[in-house]
Amino acid sequence: MGGRGAKAGGAGEEARYRAIVDTAVDAIVVIDEHGRIEAFNPAAERLFGYAAADMIGSNVKALMPEPHHAGHDGYLETYRATGERRIIGIGREVFGRRQDGSTFPLELSIAEWRSAGRRFFTGVMRDVTERKRTEELQRLLVNELNHRVKNTLATVQSVAGQTLRNAADLGDARESLTTRLLALARTHDILTRESWEGADLRDILAGLIESYGDATRFTLSGPSVRLSPKTALSLSLALHELTTNATKYGALSTPAGQVAISWSREGEGEDERLRLSWKESGGPLVSPPERQGFGSRLITRGLALELDGEATLDYQPDGVACAIVARLRRKPAANAVPARGAA
């Protein structure tokens, strides 16, 4: 440590302290009571970007951004006059300034000592930029998690409410609610695997068919399509409803019935859309249901709106047909369409 003054004890003791200070991970800077730098260790050189030789003898305020840069001489004066401590022996987080002018948060602790009738201060500093960033990220993640959980609970509230409103009896309600929640959970699993950045339509369909249990009843054809988390959740719940309906009343209620799911991508860039078709065949003669259930409400009213596209559900006599068109990318805010008609 390149000290000018601050000689304490003999040469052996000096060497011992120098070894500690020179190898310390933390920046260590010694100043006299006027703020003049007496020592500047290698970690301080790395932290602030100054060479010790250039800093010895200069005012420590060079290492501080405003307002402390202008105030520091005054702080020392006040301390000399009143002994009032703001930071000495307490430690706090402040900002440092590097040679290139950039500032960064640092944790600072200061010790005061005397030698040969003079007063010195040793400051030990650590860059806490990374810790701050981690703390901020963690705060954001906790907030986001809370928001997601609340939204998911609201979704469950909605599914449960509608299931109970529409159910024929409690057994039916229990079964419907369970399979709907499982369908939501399946999509969550896929999205979690992809860090909630999106999901491939094929993975959504594979999950659906696996849960149904018999892949021979389905034919799939279409390219790989990346869905946003929201589209993936809505679409997979809609597909679940179609499957349930087919199992109860449609093509999957007979031994030979089939479901053909085909899809394509249309348009480019922000206009790119997914066009998906669900078509049942080989099942019993289809007639439209007497009242709208959860599935058809979700598809015909909700899905089109949420996916910024179209969704039609057609109870054709030879088998239910559903066509869904979904925008694959979010439209820029400027040319958004006005709200659609009344409920």
Binding site: A154, V159, R165, K230, A336
Partner: protein
Amino acid sequence: MRVLIVEDEIMVAMLVEDLLTDLGCEVTGPAVSAESAVEAARREKVDFALLDVNLDGGTSFAAADVLRERGVPFAFVTGYGDQGVRADLRDAPILSKPVDPRHLARTIAAAR
């Protein structure tokens, strides 16, 4: 009483629609984006509006400003808590998600 729903999560929109219908309201919407919410706030003849705060990257605050200008009362629905609502709009009722039907009923009753 005619109520505008602004909500980008369709499942939540369906829930709110059911709850409001139970309360004897006529519902319109849902508007699912910040822009369509503003448009609906300008155009729809409504007595009240229920606004989801976060709309797919945007917010419903601009729609709230339009409603305030028109003298239409509104409440927010949010998963983020009070802090998620712009400070000058926090005097409006703020319902959290999931929605407590009793809280919604009181909010609607107060606006009637």
